[in-house]
């Protein structure tokens, strides 16, 4: 009884049209309809942060978001963070600091960090910890992730 409609979305700066029923969850649409599998499904319950995307620049859990409600907003997934030729400085810092092991949580952490440093380039350690408080990692023990984000701040930040 639910009817398909063509959703007009903006994903990583590109306009995208996807036929979709109203109950489509953004995470499913990204992964299954658009093959953007960088966004991960961890818990599907809002608790792990693996499915984090940016909606108009703000970290949002795509597993708890109806895709229709993302119409008219700029969606950024992990695939849209690096430029064509270069990793984002947060991504480089993750590589340099060994902040990724299995990598399943990494897209969510990177997006949370990218949003934080865009709004607060000189974020304190406490602000970093708060920004990633909804992202779980079973591998790294968090210290290297925090170091990597702190090191991605502009040079000279205390």
């Amino acid at each position: 009884m639910s009817t398909q409609r063509v959703l007009r979305l903006s994903i990583n700066g590109q306009p995208v049209e996807v036929p979709s029923p109203p109950e489509r969850i953004l995470l499913d649409l990204l992964r299954e309809d658009l093959n953007l599998t960088g966004t991960k499904r961890g818990c599907d319950l809002g608790t792990c942060g693996c499915c984090t995307v940016l909606l108009d620049g703000r970290p949002t859990l795509s597993c708890l978001t109806l895709a229709v409600l993302a119409e008219g907003k700029a969606i950024t997934t992990i695939e849209g963070v690096a430029s064509a030729t270069e990793l984002h400085r947060v991504q480089k810092s993750f590589v340099e600091h060994g902040a990724t092991q299995c990598g399943f949580c990494t897209p969510g952490f990177v997006l949370s960090a990218v949003a934080l440093l865009r709004d607060h380039p000189h974020a304190s350690r406490a602000e970093v910890v708060d920004a990633i408080s909804g992202n779980l990692c079973r591998c790294t023990g968090y210290s290297k992730i925090i170091e990597a984000i702190l090191a991605a701040r502009p040079a000279g930040t205390a």
């Binding site: 009884m1 639910s2 009817t3 029923p21 109203p22 109950e23 969850i25 599907d44 319950l45 809002g46 608790t47 942060g49 984090t52 909606l55 703000r58 970290p59 949002t60 859990l61 708890l64 978001t65 109806l66 229709v68 409600l69 949370s112 708060d130 920004a131 408080s133 909804g134 992202n135």
Partner: protein, 289 residues
């Protein structure tokens, strides 16, 4: 799950759509952090979902003596308002500790009240601050204290076609919200304790969450605190009274007796913290010491 999504753009249209549907056939969606999970696990299977997103209910409005928060304002927006942190520290603390930052950019105050969970971290502080809820429905607009909105566990007194429009709070009040959880983030509080000091009426307000069957004010414990500056003995007595009077359950998060002990400790600390905040709010008193 499968449903039709409707987006009314006026409260009147929303109420009309709700009135025209049989209960169970329609569900209200605010941020969706509770509702989408209910739909996903088929606890609810409505034919239609009514999204509140286009209603003009995203705002914080300050006046000389009150703050009105629109029901669909994301919690993150309330948390990021520096005045909330300064003037209503207990509300700010409660909001800051709901889920994670990404969850709070969706979750709303209206959704938390609409859910009416006994474990809500927001309801205790709303009770302690004597919040009033503005409701729109087929009969027009009515305003009621948050206490009268809550019924039993996860039950409210809202009619099937009624919606929460906004919540009104005092413009400032020394207040505190403390909780205990197994994990600090994305976990349900074992108990939550809110205290506030208000100039009118019985000065001290104490409210508990994580109690049965719903969050509630502890008037017996409040009665033990007659003055603005209670003694250590009175504070301890209030804490014991709250712990003694509240009803708890044992579940996987905590036993009944552990919850009772937590309440005694957290009520004492919450009153002490509120007292410290009162002395900070009145620098003249401090200067004299």
């Amino acid at each position: 799950m499968s449903f039709q999504l409707v987006h009314p753009s006026t409260p009147a249209e929303a109420v009309r759509l709700l009135s025209g549907s049989a209960t169970g056939d329609i569900a209200v969606l605010s941020g969706g952090t509770d509702l989408l999970l209910d739909l996903d696990n088929a606890r609810l299977a409505p034919k239609r979902v009514l999204s509140l997103r286009k209603l003009p209910w995203r705002y914080l409005r300050w006046s000389a003596d009150s703050l009105v928060i629109g029901s669909t304002t994301p919690l993150r927006a309330v948390e990021n308002d520096g005045e909330v942190r300064r003037r209503l520290p207990g509300l700010w603390e409660a909001i800051r500790d709901v889920g994670s930052p990404a969850l709070r950019s969706r979750a709303t105050l209206g959704g938390n009240l609409g859910r009416g969970s006994p474990a809500s971290d927001l309801i205790p502080i709303l009770l302690a601050l004597d919040a009033r809820v503005r409701v729109v429905g087929p009969g027009g607009v009515r305003e009621l204290p948050v206490d009268l909105l809550l019924q039993g566990s996860r039950r409210t007194t809202l009619g099937p076609a009624e919606l929460i429009e906004s919540v009104t709070l005092p413009a400032s009040a020394p207040s505190t919200y403390l909780w205990q959880r197994v994990q600090p983030v994305n976990d349900i509080s074992q108990v939550g304790v809110a205290t506030a000091f208000v100039p009118q009426g019985p000065h001290w307000r104490i409210a508990l969450g994580g109690v049965q069957p719903r969050a509630r004010r502890m008037s017996e414990a409040e009665g033990v605190l007659p003055s603005a500056r209670p003694s250590h003995f009175e504070v301890e007595l209030a804490a014991q009274e709250a712990a003694r009077r509240a009803e708890f359950v044992s579940d996987k998060r905590a036993t009944e007796s552990y919850r009772r002990r937590l309440v005694a400790v957290l009520v004492r600390r919450a009153i002490q913290t509120t007292l410290e905040r009162m002395s900070k709010a009145t620098p003249s008193r401090k200067a004299k010491r």
